[in-house]
């Protein structure tokens, strides 16, 4: 379907693509992964005929794309969905009007369009919302509408640039299910990029890109099988003692912590030695689980992210930084936040989870004083938010969902500006500026314009700007949305350090469930209500008591396996390349699940019981109530 040979592209002096050769067979779901600024979007735009390559051959659907005219010829056979939520849509048009517009644009005959529209709306579950204006849809629905608008002319190739960035896990899941179904039923080819590695695991093939080059291409399974390590997840009691022990015995292994879970990349050859060490010498632990290396491991290895200093979070302090009581916010007849009470202590990281449109941002905007509550009270730093006092604002830092610094200014100028706004001057300002640049690792780009930075660096800049004045309370609204795994990990280690060193209280919203493991406590919201508020471990424990253990099965076709298990009345969901389901004991797996799958011709290559993940908690809480 797509063939690239020796493709080059530069913007001024920056090289975006260098000698890229790729082949995407017809009917595949082909993924592009790689850090921000690796050239994924550029590659997609060249394939879509929107950008012209500087050198090299591009063949799409049998057409050599080397001129404006040849680019026009391929456009009728492809659909493109650019990066950003609903950017290809018209906010004031309704769902149906958007679809009609794209059908008209693509010259789809009226009768055919009507039939496809009904079908696509039904597949996406958007039929009840067909008259609603696009701007009033939730992020997940906008994304689905964007997809079906790109599909209304039944293209042979769809190009989707980070379609699930900023979308909650549930919507993400149903988005991929929909895409997989379309690819399979219509023999469509899809070229997709994503920052979520668990999603990439579901693609037929992935290409890992870095600095404009393709590092490796292959089926996710084949790529990860080739990796020389396995992943051990160890639940530890004392992270710091593990840190010292690892540094002494296994200093070269890549490792990171998610809460009390140590993730360790253990070279296959050394697994036996490591297991022996665990039995004899190692600090105490509560359990160990082995997993084959995954794409995240591949990604981090390519990025050469190695050991990171592990920071054990101290317990929160007694004093309360944020206290909210029965906060409610209505927009017209719509209640965005409904009677939410919440507190955050000094030195505590509280994660705010929920689907798009659950009211997370609204809650945060009320607490920062940006939005007056309809009813209820809240105190931030001991002062009511209703007064919107300058004294309180001096003590808080806020990072909005959207990058909201000045793109025309350099990194240093942005920081200096916000320093001065917060009353820092002279030597003190210089000191804080140096600290921020050094701490965030932005020294090397200090004099680049903020607008020119890749997303990961921009987010760190925004965090630094929010921190410059040394606030005691931080509000972070989806700070890592769209940031690649390495950047995300870096960002979170910064947050933990901050909590550890300075006792900053943080309220962080996120769609990445493994990030929630980094929090002291997790607050979950659904349709404006708070539905859970407990430490991650407690939530997982509750889930275990309610639903049983989590069995993860390695299968070749996870979507089909999920379908089979759901049809059998089992509670299954796709997690990475695996299918997970709740079971009561191992017997249920071997006695019921495995035969069921085998019956349908689905081979299970391995399985194990795992402690429930935050993702499982999220899915069961959000879906379970629905």
């Amino acid at each position: 379907m797509i063939r690239l040979e020796g493709v080059h592209k530069r913007y001024g002096r920056t090289v975006a693509l260098e000698d890229v050769s790729l082949e995407v067979p017809r009917g595949q779901l082909f993924g592009l992964i790689g850090p921000d600024g690796a050239g994924k979007s550029t590659l997609m735009h060249i394939v879509a005929g929107v950008l012209a390559q500087d050198a090299g051959t591009v063949v799409v659907n049998g057409v050599h794309v080397d001129s404006e005219r040849s680019a026009e010829r391929i456009k009728s056979s492809l659909g493109l969905m650019p990066q950003g939520l609903g950017l290809n849509l018209y906010p004031t048009l309704s769902v149906e009007e958007n679809l009609d517009f794209f059908a008209g644009l693509r010259n789809v005959p009226k009768a055919v369009a009507r039939q496809r529209k009904t079908q696509l709306l039904q597949m996406t579950g958007l039929t009840p919302f067909r008259d609603r204006a696009m701007q009033h849809l939730s992020g997940g629905m906008q994304q689905k509408l964007g997809l079906i608008c790109a599909l209304i002319h039944e293209p042979e190739l769809v190009i989707l640039d980070e379609p699930t960035t900023g979308v909650d896990p549930l919507s993400r899941r149903s988005f991929w299910r929909l895409l997989a179904q379309l690819v399979e039923e219509r023999g469509m080819t899809a070229l997709v990029s994503t920052a979520y590695m668990d999603e990439a695991a579901l693609f037929d093939q992935v290409a890992l890109m870095q600095r404009g080059r393709v590092l490796s291409v292959g089926a996710p399974q084949a790529l990860t099988d080739r990796l020389p390590f396995e992943q051990a997840i160890i639940r530890v009691r004392n992270p710091e003692s593990w840190q010292t022990a690892l540094a002494e015995h296994w200093p070269d292994w890549t490792r990171w912590f998610e809460g009390h879970h140590l993730h360790l990349q253990v070279p296959k050859a050394q697994r036996a030695a490591f297991e022996a060490w665990i039995k004899s010498d190692a600090p105490s632990m509560e359990g160990i689980w082995w997993q084959p290396a995954d794409l995240e491991g591949l990604f981090l290895q390519a990025q050469q992210v190695h050991k990171e200093t592990v920071i054990d979070l101290p317990p929160p302090r007694a004093e309360r930084a944020i206290v909210a009581e029965n906060l409610t916010r209505r927009f017209g007849r719509f209640t965005a936040v409904d009677e939410v009470s919440l507190d955050v202590h000094a030195g505590e990281i509280v994660g705010l989870l929920g689907a798009n449109g659950a009211g997370k941002s609204t809650l945060m905007r009320m607490l920062t004083g940006l939005l007056p509550p309809t009813s209820g009270t809240a105190e931030v730093a001991g002062v009511s938010i209703r007064g919107n006092s300058l004294a309180v604002r001096r003590r808080i830092g806020y990072m909005a969902q959207r990058f909201s610094l000045y793109e025309e200014l350099t990194v240093r100028e942005n920081l200096r500006l916000f320093g001065r706004i917060y009353g820092l001057w002279g030597g003190r300002l210089r000191e804080r500026l140096d600290w921020a640049l050094n701490w965030s690792g932005l020294d090397s780009v200090a004099d680049s314009r903020a607008g020119a930075l890749p997303l990961g660096q921009r987010q760190r800049l925004a965090l630094s700007a929010a921190l410059l004045h040394g606030p005691s309370i931080l509000f972070l609204d989806e700070p890592t949305s769209g940031v690649d795994p390495a950047g995300r990990r870096h960002f979170w280690s910064l947050l933990r350090q901050l909590c550890h060193d300075e006792g900053v209280a943080m309220l962080v919203s996120t769609h990445a469930m493994n990030e929630a493991e980094n929090c002291h406590r997790v607050v979950m919201m659904r349709q404006g209500h708070k539905i859970a508020d407990a430490p991650p471990d407690v939530l997982k424990q509750q889930l275990r008591e309610r639903r049983g253990e989590l069995a993860t099965l390695q299968v070749d076709r996870p979507w089909q396996a999920e379908r089979v298990l759901l049809d059998a009345g089992l509670d299954a969901f796709v997690q990475g390349r695996q299918v997970a389901l709740f079971v009561h004991g191992e017997a249920e797996v071997s006695g019921r699940v495995l035969p069921l799958l085998r019956q349908e011709g689905l081979e299970v290559r391995g399985w194990q019981l795992m402690p429930p993940t935050m993702e499982a908690v999220f899915v069961s809480l959000i879906e379970g109530v629905a």
């Binding site: 004083g369 004294a391 909005a400 959207r402 000045y406 025309e408 200014l409 500006l417 001065r420 917060y422």
Partner: protein, 375 residues
């Protein structure tokens, strides 16, 4: 205060790094003024004229000689009057004259003679100008006939009663269009930029979401607003200086007869008056594109009510009353007064006072709306 200073520097940097705004401001303050000063003329220039001379006499040629360059341009004579009229109809000629046979014979005999003159009245300004020029030329021609009949020469005092016509223009003795046109254009440009810039600066913060970061900072709405207004004032004063000294004074020779300091003070006052309107525009729009639309919508009535293109005296009384509310009307009087007449405050104070009052009103409106938007 330091925060205000930091934000002020930020505004200037952001402006300086926006190639579009920068080029627009530079263009408006330089090339636009020069083009207006040299390119636009209010007098008749090379109006094409077709004459069908059916007399071919000394008198007929003398009459035609009155219509000369640079005001008129004679077209090759068409063979028949119908064709000459065709030229007017198609717009290739502005005037068409028919000098009938025996024109000179009738003059010789002392009988009244007539010439038929058609004028294109579609463009009212040019039509009426051409008509009045033709009347003057005609009057001179008749006067000449009188002299000839009395065998007098032109330099002798005429033996009949008459009032001698010796005009002296004040302030712009040579009656140069370029002075007035350039000044009017500059004031119009200042009006445009003075509304556009604060609105664009403010709405951009909304568009990019940067406003949220400012709102969570310990800044009052005044401290967010003030740096923008200061930056706009600086740009206005700088642009005005560039335009005045380089283009108008340097290239077009426009005099600056009054105090330059008073002029600068008035420019600052004018920038302040418009900024309120700009802020107001920013509160009702969502992006720079919408700002442009609204500003252009405001611009047209402002220009029409300014008195620069239309004499205030010839407007209906309700519009005259309205003009006193248009900032540009007062600024035109003040600016032209200081530039050309050398007026000072003692003379201009009624207009200065009115401009200040209007400006304050607009500013309060804009600031009130802006604060409400931020809250």
């Amino acid at each position: 205060m330091r925060a205000v200073w930091a934000l002020f520097l930020k505004e200037l940097r952001v402006l300086g790094r926006d190639p579009f705004l920068l080029v627009a401001v530079l263009w408006f303050f330089t090339a636009e003024i020069y083009v207006a000063g040299t390119g636009i003329r209010l007098e008749l220039h090379q109006a094409p004229m077709a004459v069908v001379d059916e007399d071919h006499s000394l008198a007929s040629r003398q009459w035609q000689a009155g219509f000369h360059e640079p005001w008129f341009r004679r077209l090759p004579p068409p063979p028949a009057m119908a064709l000459a009229l065709k030229l007017v109809e198609t717009g290739r000629a502005m005037l068409a004259a028919d000098i009938p046979p025996r024109f000179s014979e009738r003059i010789e005999r002392g009988q009244p003679a007539s010439i038929q003159l058609f004028l294109d009245g579609a463009n009212v300004t040019l039509g009426s100008l051409a008509a009045s020029y033709a009347q003057m030329i005609h009057a001179r021609f008749n006067e000449q006939l009188l002299y000839d009949r009395l065998h007098l020469s032109r330099d002798q005092a005429p033996p009949f009663p008459h009032v001698e016509n010796r005009l002296r223009l004040l302030f712009n003795q040579a009656n140069r269009d370029s002075w007035f046109m350039a000044a009017s254009e500059l004031f119009a440009v200042m009006t445009l930029i003075g509304m556009l810039l604060p609105a664009a600066l403010a709405v951009r913060e909304k568009e990019r979401g940067t406003i949220e970061q400012l709102l969570v900072a310990p800044l009052t709405p005044t401290r967010i607003m003030l740096p923008k207004l200061l930056a706009v004032m600086l740009v206005m004063v700088a642009g005005f200086s560039l335009s005045l000294w380089l283009i108008m004074h340097g290239l077009l020779g426009v005099p600056v007869r009054g105090s330059p300091w008073l002029l600068y003070a008035m420019v600052a006052l004018y920038a302040f008056s418009l900024s309120g309107l700009g802020l107001f525009v920013a509160t009702i729009t969502r992006n720079v594109g919408q700002v442009m639309l609204v500003v252009f919508m405001l611009m047209l009535p402002m220009l029409l009510l300014s008195g620069a293109w239309t004499p205030p005296e010839s407007m209906p009384s309700w519009e005259q009353a309205l003009m006193h509310l248009a900032p540009l009307y007062h600024f035109n009087i003040i600016g032209n007064g200081i530039l050309f007449k050398g007026s000072d405050l003692a003379l201009l104070w009624p207009n200065v006072l009115q401009l200040a009052a209007i400006g304050l009103g607009l500013f309060l409106l804009g600031a009130w709306r802006f604060r409400k938007m931020l809250a």
